[in-house]
């Protein structure tokens, strides 16, 4: 097969041609270090500031609050570690959710090894944070709440505004990992009481290796990467001008096209989910049906395992991913699917398909036909299906 149907936009996206075009001059022609004093370099300072401005505007804040990083993971690490360090005199308790990305969870593990205490607030069966448990978890020594804006596996969108209000009421810093949500959902950091927000360029048709952390003015967070005076002395390293310019362009387009794009994706997502539910026996949709990212489909197909499914889809030219983290060299099923209450066998049989604006209805029709064939084939060799059929016959 020649055509590839890419349904893994949550993993990464192609940079838009306009993004690459915007970056190109800064590689070979306007390659200056923005901190240099000579005249030509001021164009690069301006280019960096312009991206900062675009991003600030998209979040309803001022550009001085946007700090460029190398991506979502760095932003998450910085936010958590710097807040822990800055406020440890106030307390050493941090609250997060059970369904965060590993960039948050493993950073929490690290902080725990440094004497911080972490409370993981549970989610309901659609993946929505239990607000009452959150509120109950707050203690006098709680210094930080970090809850992701939308989940990368099941697409569930959290009640961020309510979480922000709880955090504010208790005078606790609120960080959100918006790596999946930013560019897909409108976000106003003031309205939602967000103190820190992480985002990554390659999730919204920008380049890889660049992202940002929004830090509310007044938060006394220190550098994570020490050195030169870049980024208002808070993030050292010669600015990645090309990456920053590309990110700015990607954000500009993402916000300009958001309404139309997400409307189209939502429709296609719902169409595909409904067909799958109707036509593939013994499968379920994971995550909330409504409060979910416009491009996210996550299903569990009973009696079959995710990786086999993925390989077979791959052979049919379809790129998707599994809820199972097998892909990353680990054998455990997704912590997110376990957190929403799936048993292990079912968690292992999940499939994530994340659409992009180029995805068509024809694509999804093809995918669903293939999916049906593959599921049938895998079930004929599944001992779990055999047992199920025997028990029910």
């Amino acid at each position: 097969m020649d055509k590839i149907i890419y349904l893994d936009h949550a993993a990464t996206t192609a940079a838009r041609p306009e993004v690459v075009e915007a970056m190109l001059p800064y590689f070979t022609e306007s390659y200056w270090n923005p901190s240099s004093v000579y005249t030509p370099a001021s164009a690069n300072r301006k280019a960096v500031d312009q991206s900062r401005e675009i991003i600030a505007k998209s979040l309803g804040t001022q550009s001085q609050n946007i700090y460029f990083t190398a991506g979502g993971s760095e932003s998450d690490n910085w936010a958590l570690k710097a807040a822990a360090e800055a406020y440890e005199n106030k307390g050493k308790h941090i609250i997060t959710s059970t369904i965060e990305h590993h960039a948050i969870l493993h950073t929490c593990d690290y902080l725990q090894s440094k004497g911080f205490e972490i409370t993981y607030v549970d989610v309901d069966e659609t993946g929505i944070l239990k607000l009452d448990e959150l509120e109950a978890a707050i203690r006098p020594d709680t210094i930080l709440i970090s809850v992701m804006f939308a989940n990368n596996e099941i697409g569930t969108i959290q009640p961020i505004k309510e979480i922000g209000e709880i955090a504010q009421k208790h005078g606790i810093i609120f960080h959100t990992d918006a790596v999946q949500a930013y560019g897909q959902l409108p976000i106003d950091v003031d309205e939602y009481h967000i103190d820190m927000l992480s985002a990554s360029g390659h999730k919204l048709n920008g380049p890889k290796g660049v992202g940002f952390l929004y830090i509310r003015k007044g938060l006394k967070l220190r550098s994570f990467i020490h050195g030169g005076a870049q980024e208002r002395k808070r993030r050292a390293g010669t600015e990645n001008v090309t990456g920053i310019v590309g990110l700015g362009k990607a954000v500009e387009i993402a916000f300009d096209t958001m309404e139309e794009r997400t409307k189209k994706e939502t429709e296609l997502r719902d169409y595909a989910m409904n067909r799958i539910l109707a036509e593939v026996p013994y499968c379920r949709i994971n995550g909330d049906r409504k409060k979910r990212l416009p491009n996210n489909i996550n299903i569990s197909v009973q009696f079959i395992e995710g990786e086999s499914l993925l390989i077979m889809l791959d052979m049919a030219g379809i790129c998707a991913s599994s809820g199972s983290a097998c892909t990353s060299g680990s054998l455990d099923p997704s912590h997110v699917l376990l957190a929403i209450g799936l048993p292990h066998e079912i968690a292992h049989g999940s499939l994530r398909m994340t659409l992009g604006e180029e995805t068509t209805k024809e694509d999804m029709d093809y995918v669903i036909e293939k999916l049906k064939e593959i599921v049938e084939k895998l079930r004929t060799m599944s001992p779990l299906y055999e047992d199920f059929v025997k028990k029910n016959s």
Partner: protein, 145 residues
């Protein structure tokens, strides 16, 4: 990630299916790890494995190792089948990625479990065969840096 042989056995698995009234059936696996294998053996009075079938819930490597393991024991005597190690399965598949080595262990265990079942049903003792573990323990790879 997978060798051509693995992909071949995954795409065209040999000996998929069930055997009615099998001489021995063994199911091993680990719900947590996400691999379950079931092996059916048809063994004649000379202790020769005349037929073998499998069903596997698991990743590509799990399917391929099951398929290869059935190929390797087919036509063998019970004693010979006992000597089909996970290493032999892996070699026959031109290797597996390190994180998938446990799948080949599972295949070995599934054969052993089916042989154990056969032995129990027939009240015989097979030299060198221990009661199979119902579960294959996961070993964390060493971080060797």
């Amino acid at each position: 990630m997978y060798s051509e042989k693995v992909m071949d056995h995954f795409q065209n698995p040999r000996n998929v299916g069930e055997i009615e009234n099998a001489s021995g059936v063994g199911t091993v696996g680990n719900a947590k790890c996400g691999d379950i294998m079931r092996i059916y053996l048809d063994i004649d009075e000379n202790q020769i494995i005349k037929d073998v079938k499998f069903k596997t819930f698991g990743c590509g490597a799990a399917v391929a190792t099951s398929s290869m393991a059935t190929e390797l024991v087919k036509g063998k005597t019970v004693q010979e089948a006992l000597e089909v190690t996970n290493k032999a399965v892996m070699e026959a598949l031109d290797g597996l990625p390190p994180v998938k080595v446990h799948c080949s262990l599972l295949a070995e265990e599934a054969i052993h479990a089916a042989l154990w079942d056969y032995a129990e049903k027939n009240g015989i003792k097979i030299e060198g065969l221990d009661k199979p573990k119902s579960d294959i323990s996961e070993e964390e790879e060493e971080e060797e840096y």
